[in-house]
């Protein structure tokens, strides 16, 4: 299939259609509004429906209704909107409905700003709502990966009957990159299984519910959910290692777009003769603790970089179990750390373990810039994403295919944007 | 002859049927049902006209009505 250049938000919308999702309920919010806008145009073309909810509270309950009757369904929002879905998401998870949520994070807390941020890590992985439940959380680092993960999200949602969140920052929503859709057309409809409310004609009636007044029943339900989460933790860890084949003293940890910025910094430092490894969780929940631990064990120090005041670092700590010191570099509010800035922080961390490169940390040097010009070394050693138990080469399910291909479609994606 | 049947175990003793009966032939039992409620009883079955008002009033659908009249398929009223 040919590559097209697409805005992340629009690619996410299209990916949902390819996955067979033709119902969208959501509310506009920058920087994700292109998803609803795109789907408002596209869904009627494929026999689906775009419904603009009156609020994110309503949206989260509409997807509950849509999923409950056995249809694939998507909603997308950004940070404050996700907060408003907290109760609804808890109900969806408790009722074991397969929905896909996308959070294109902006700066917080409160109204914050609309620029890229990663400050909803905790919210996504821990406290999305009340009670014991978990989302599957996937964090893409490119538009292509966003497409792949959205499609995967629908698969996983149905496999586990669990809500799946794809989480990215404003950059991934707003930027255009070439994408190839792994499937053509509109995916087949969801199998309503033995749970969807399709009308009880000819079968036992069904109930979609999260109320268990009897505490024993409620406890059993929680244990059932827990067992499911353990299954997810067993099977659905995804991550990427970068530059971890050569020896390294420092391991950088980052997720989403931040990891790409770190890669550029790491590449720049290679030109200075320094090798630094990178660990990127693709599934933020289940977090790949063991794989992370394995690469931690080969390092002497960790530098965690986030577009937040430090949230994933707790999971890195849990993986490190106190074995290594962890440095942190984070910004919030929409400030995106530049590759130079990250490189400086890497140098500082290296200095702390006496592995400082000769040159003083400073602005990206002419030499680095020149190296950047011909990044021949970056080629084959790139990203290898792995699943537990499958160490080594195997190309991950969700790695984007990057072969050059002719652009086949000239769909127009430029739109007015705002907040 | 029209008649009603009261499912005394469904009855919660609210007396709504008593109030509804135009023939005033319903009353409450002395005895209690297993849930501890005094339940509705017919004092004079012979006077029942099968008007269904008691049944329509009953929140617990504890009353069935039988009559020689047309059988309504779904108890339309």
């Amino acid at each position: 299939m040919a590559k097209v250049l697409m805005k992340g938000n629009e690619a996410i919308g299209e990916a949902a259609i390819r996955a067979g999702c033709i119902h969208f309920f959501g509310y506009p919010i920058t920087p994700q509004s292109e998803v609803p806008e795109y789907l408002a145009r596209r869904l009627p073309e494929v026999g689906g429906q775009y419904v603009q909810a009156e609020s994110e509270v309503a949206a989260s309950n509409m997807i509950y209704g849509a999923a409950g009757v056995g249809m694939r369904v998507l909603t997308t929002s950004s940070s404050p909107g996700i907060s408003l879905m907290a109760e609804g998401i808890s109900y969806i998870a408790a009722s074991e409905l397969p929905v896909v949520l996308v959070n294109i994070m902006r700066a917080g807390p409160g109204l914050g700003g609309i620029l890229p941020a990663q400050g909803d890590y905790f919210q996504a992985t821990r406290g999305t709502g009340h009670g014991d439940f978990q989302l599957l959380v996937l964090a893409p680092a490119s538009v292509q990966e966003a497409v792949n993960l959205v499609i995967l999200a629908f698969e996983l949602a149905e496999k586990y009957l669990n809500p799946v969140m794809v989480i990215g920052d404003g950059m991934i929503g707003q930027m255009m990159e070439p994408v190839e859709f792994p499937v053509e057309g509109v995916g087949p409809p969801l199998d309503p299984g033995d749970w969807a409310l399709t009308g009880c004609e000819g079968r036992e009636r069904r109930i979609v519910n999260s109320l268990f007044l009897d505490p024993e029943a409620c406890n059993r339900h929680n244990l059932k959910l827990k067992a499911k989460y353990e299954r997810m933790a067993e099977n659905e860890q995804r991550w990427e290692l970068y530059n971890c084949d050569e020896p390294y003293d420092l391991l950088v940890t980052a997720f989403g777009m931040m990891s790409r910025i770190c890669k550029t910094a790491i590449d720049d430092l290679k030109a200075e003769g320094t090798n630094v490894g990178l660990f990127r969780p693709i599934s933020l929940n289940p977090f790949p603790y063991e794989p992370c631990r394995r690469v931690i064990d080969r390092a002497q120090r960790i530098l965690d970089v986030e577009m937040s005041m430090g949230q994933m670092i707790y999971d890195i700590q849990l993986a490190a179990q106190g074995r290594l010191e962890i440095d942190f570099h984070g910004t919030a509010g929409g400030v995106v750390p530049s590759p130079d800035e990250v490189a400086d922080k890497i140098r500082e961390s290296l200095a702390r373990i006496g592995r400082s490169p000769a040159r003083k940390p400073g602005k990206r040097s002419a030499k680095a810039a020149a190296a950047q010009k011909s990044k021949s070394k970056r080629s084959k050693k790139t990203a290898t994403a792995q699943k537990p138990g499958k160490r080594g080469g195997k190309k991950p399910q969700n790695a984007g295919k990057r072969s050059a291909a002719r652009q086949s479609s000239a769909r127009r994606h430029g739109r007015r944007s705002g907040r | 002859m029209p008649r009603i049947e009261i499912d005394k175990e469904r009855c919660k003793g609210c007396e709504r049927c008593n109030d509804a009966c135009p023939q005033e032939i319903l009353a409450m039992s002395e005895a209690l049902n297993v849930k501890g409620y005094s339940y509705a009883v017919v004092t004079d079955p012979s006077r029942c006209v099968g008007c269904r008002l008691c049944a329509i009033a009953c929140p617990d659908v504890a009353i069935e009505v039988y009559s020689a009249g047309t059988q309504y398929e779904f108890f339309a009223y």
């Binding site: 509409m62 109760e87 | 108890f75």
Partner: protein, 253 residues
């Protein structure tokens, strides 16, 4: 001898958890009867709210959702828009629909969602133990207005049927009551008409039913019915508030 009144097939045989004399039971039965009469049980999806009728899914014998507090109209929207062939209704209390769920009901009505809403107005929060609802009557005492609702402080009760009828989007909107047999019969006609409009794919449909809460009103079932008649009906006038222009709707379709 024919059975001319009996247990509707579309209700499960379970005895409800409602208090003695609570007219939630009457309203359940009417909804069940209407669904039987229209023969739509096999394609009906009901939505229970959070409120005393939270367990409605135990009593209605067809596919059911349990929705979060106040959001049943949004759940109904999601369900109906996704599978338009289903007959979707929500069953909601006044705290659920008129307090926390105000935005959802107004917008579902305004979007013209082709669903049916059964709105049980008992002027109080039954399930949580008798707190003030937006529909609580002036001077009525509840646990959160122990001196009686002071309209100067918290305003007058909300009349949902009238409020929704004010919207320009077509709809069927009526208010009945379950406190007497006569009104119950009339209310059942409203319910039937509402479902019929939905079956015809016509418009948003909404039936408010005045209901008693003997327990939290602190009255016997009989006193409760009298109180409803005396206090509520003058403020909440019964009748059809709005009807779709069926002619126009058919031409539109």
């Amino acid at each position: 001898m024919n059975k001319i009144f009996g247990y509707p097939p579309t209700l499960t045989p379970r005895t409800t958890h409602y208090c003695p004399g609570c007219t939630h039971g009457v309203i359940h039965r009417m909804v069940g009867e209407v669904i039987d009469e229209l023969g739509i049980r096999g394609r009906t999806v009901g939505i229970a709210p959070v409120g005393c009728s939270v367990l409605a899914y135990e009593y209605f014998n067809f596919d059911m959702f349990e929705a979060s507090h106040g959001r049943a109209p949004a759940v109904a929207t999601g369900a109906k828009r996704s599978r338009p062939n289903l007959i979707v209704f929500s069953y909601q209390g006044d705290g659920d629909l008129a307090s926390i769920g105000m935005a959802e009901i107004v917008h579902a009505a305004n979007r013209g969602e082709k669903i049916t809403v059964v709105f049980v107005n008992n002027a109080i929060y039954g399930m949580t133990g008798g707190q003030m609802a937006p529909t609580t009557m002036p001077n009525q005492r509840t646990t959160t207005c122990p001196m009686g609702r002071d309209v100067n402080e918290v305003g007058y009760p909300v009349r949902m049927a009238e409020l929704l009828a004010e919207l320009r989007t077509p709809g069927f909107i009526a208010r009945g009551s379950a406190h007497t047999v006569q009104e119950t019969i009339r209310t059942k006609r409203y319910l039937k008409e509402a479902f019929e409009h939905q079956v015809a794919g016509r418009c948003f449909t909404f039936v408010e039913v005045l209901s008693t809460c003997p327990t939290n009103w602190g009255l016997s079932p009989r006193e409760a019915a009298n109180w409803l008649e005396r206090e509520m009906i003058p403020y909440y006038p019964l009748g059809v508030k709005k009807r779709p222009d069926v002619q126009a709707a058919q031409e539109g379709a």
